[in-house]
Subunit: 142 residues, 2 copies
DNA sequence: TTGTATGCAAATTATTTGCACTCTC
DNA sequence: GAGAGTGCAAATAATTTGCATACAA
């Protein structure tokens, strides 16, 4: 998947009523190039990310997450990682607990499973979102 | 489920080659009473948790997690929560994104699903563990 | 006794906030 | 021009570490 140009990202932002600032476009470009979930300190440490303020990273990515352009994931690394939501779809991850190698997979709980889970509870009538990651040892580390 | 006595917990620890220190027993007792996932700052702030050092909380719970007596969970609260693994079995959670209400459910990926996921990857031959939580708005907050 | 675990204290890492200023729409 | 967004700087929150001492086995 080719990286979207600034114009394309700008449109996506405006469609959602957000201003297309250079900082937000930069955040999207950085995530697009990363090809994997990355933390804010990591993004900021990279050469291209060096110019922006820390607070702008946090506030910007929070905004992009709320706009469903970006997704936060917890890979048990002690911090939040961020990744692009390409085409509005999320995916999940396999994480090697030794070397940190990450792969994606697509599978989400279907309606049947969601019903089965809701049946076990008293206080919920619906489910909006979910987290799902697998952890193991990759071939190289095994 | 009644809380296990100190003797029972002490045996569990020794079975795993760990020393049954008062601090570790206290951690297990605190988690047992909590009945829900709790953070370390929260545990420490509680009256009974006040006596132990911060580092002892972190190191102790890390040890208990490695010993599969305790499990860490990420409920998108910006910190790690801990809960007892009762009978060596884990469960997953539904979390209300408004009030924080939490319920448990039991369901885990079966072998068929695990195979389906592994088939999508190149670098993994097996999966050890997984995280799975649902987020939504509970009845009261809806 | 002996190594493991704890307490203390300080450091590190991640994240958030207030406020003045700037830039997009 | 107006309001949303950013930079700066300082604060808060969570977690980790080194080292001397204490305690379980």
């Amino acid at each position: 998947m080719a990286e979207k140009g600034n114009t394309a990202y700008a449109s996506l932002l405006r469609e959602r009523g957000l201003k297309a600032t250079p900082q937000r476009l930069q955040l999207l470009a950085l995530l697009s190039r990363a090809k994997r979930p990355v933390s804010i300190p990591e993004l900021q440490a990279g050469a291209e990310g060096g110019g922006m303020d820390t607070a702008t990273f946090y506030r910007g990515l929070e905004t992009l997450t709320a706009a469903t352009l970006v997704r936060k994931v917890d890979l048990r690394h002690g911090h939040t990682d961020y990744e692009l939501m390409e085409n509005g779809k999320h995916h999940h991850h396999l994480v090697c607990t030794i070397c940190g190698h990450i792969e994606k997979f697509t599978w989400c709980p279907d309606n049947k499973l969601r019903k089965q889970i809701l049946k076990q509870t008293k206080g919920f009538t619906g489910l909006d979102d979910h987290s799902l990651e697998f952890f193991g040892v990759c071939k190289k580390c095994a």
